[in-house]
Amino acid sequence: MKMLLLKAWTETRVRFFSSLLAAVVVCLYHVTQHAWLVTMWTHTLANDPKALTHFPWMPLGISSYNWYLWHYLFDNYLQQIWVLFAVLFAFGGLAREKLNGTAPFSLGLPISRKRWLLSRLLIAFIESIALAVFAIAFTAIASIAIHQTFSVTGLILHTTLMVATGIFFIAFGDLCSSLFPGEYLAIILTLLIFGTPYLIVQTYEQHMRVLGRGDWLRNIDLAHIMAGPWQLTWTTLPWLGMAIMWTMTALLLIAAIKHGDRVDY
């Protein structure tokens, strides 16, 4: 088992280190932009009487650094980067090895295909957790550096929710990777099948929430389930959404195992 994990890690470590770099870029950018944005929002509110109607969230953005972090990181950019890399961590495996001609060597080992899959997914999951932990640790240090106070509990809770529900994307990425074995095809088809609806629904529902309205699409807004409300507590956790995402994750994993067992290499 150790060797399988080592193999999975060796195959994905470039992606993992790249993801850390991406997290640094995203978190550093938004932390350093805070002072400038707050100044701009304060100026806008003072000079434009309609601003509060157009942007009802502005006072919260000015007064609460916790809201700022939640909005820009957990509800938008960090989450998107995390999802993208969670999918990329899950890419690979026997279907890709078949393309390179190395699948028979792997299959020649006395290890079941299910175990191959699970060891790869385990590494992908650990890498996803490490990415999220690294990102919030970096954000916390950067926030301290700019003399901002924040809720550590809030950061931990939001990160836990993002990773716990985002496991769905690892299962999804793995299934796409084994279903679409062509060169680079898995990337673009995953974007087509899931990336577009995920981003479109996220943006649309964010706008609807600003308007104070809701529609049926909010039930499939996975991004909002992953972000949760900005003041996250046990009572405000999206339990139903989480249960649905875990069920879908289990179904995708079963589908990936069944498909992996039936493929002729």
Binding site: V14, S19, I81, G101, G182, Y184, L185, I187, L192, T196
Partner: protein, 262 residues
Amino acid sequence: MVTALTTNSPQTANFRHALLWKAWQESRARFFSALALVVIVVSYAILISTDWLARYNSFHPTEPLPYSAFIWSGLFNWLLQATWILAAFVLGLGGLRREGATGSALFTLALPIARTHLLLSRAMVAIAESMLLALTPALLIPLLSSATGHTYPWSQGLLFSLSMGIAGMVFLCVSLLLSSLLEGEFTAPVVGILIVGSVFLGSKQWQVHKWSILDVMSAANSIDPSTQYLRGPLPWLGLSVCTLASLTLLSCSIIVLRRRDF
């Protein structure tokens, strides 16, 4: 991986056709997927436009948003632009370096064709596919707009699409260069995502905003602020700089590939 069979006709022209055919075979699944992605994005935006604008304008009755502004800010300056960049980037991936990793590079290199031609034929196909992707919205937006009771001029769609396609070639050429440098299937895309993401975040910084390639792609500095129609000529200076940058990147790819030992 597709191997071009060219044993019957040694003429250079036939080789070139075979190389173009090979590049098309290797990238057509990606192209059709990207085309579907672009069609979905454009259709989605236009189909929700009536409802979205009605809600938006009821919320901002004193400053109603015109349909043309919705199309430019929602598609040419945001969602379509992002989709196109990703699609163009993926279309540029592949080539000899990747073939080296999968073990088929020697078959391709055995053909009596210079490496420069191999790369250029792949680049030509990728450029043609990317331009087709860029021009699809120029056709789709006016058609779907009229189907949903709105109007959007053909000329505006065409000019914005051309601007996006020409300036955006930089991203395609970055992809070609990364493909010449990196052999892992997912290494080049991941590095590309980092580059594109950094460009996106960097272009938001006011200090470098006027140099933003994304603004050249959407012709942001040449539009009317209220209607968001193009009010003057295309940003030719920006487009020329982008074309020059694309050619430089392509030249770098050729140099890297010629020096590489397979």
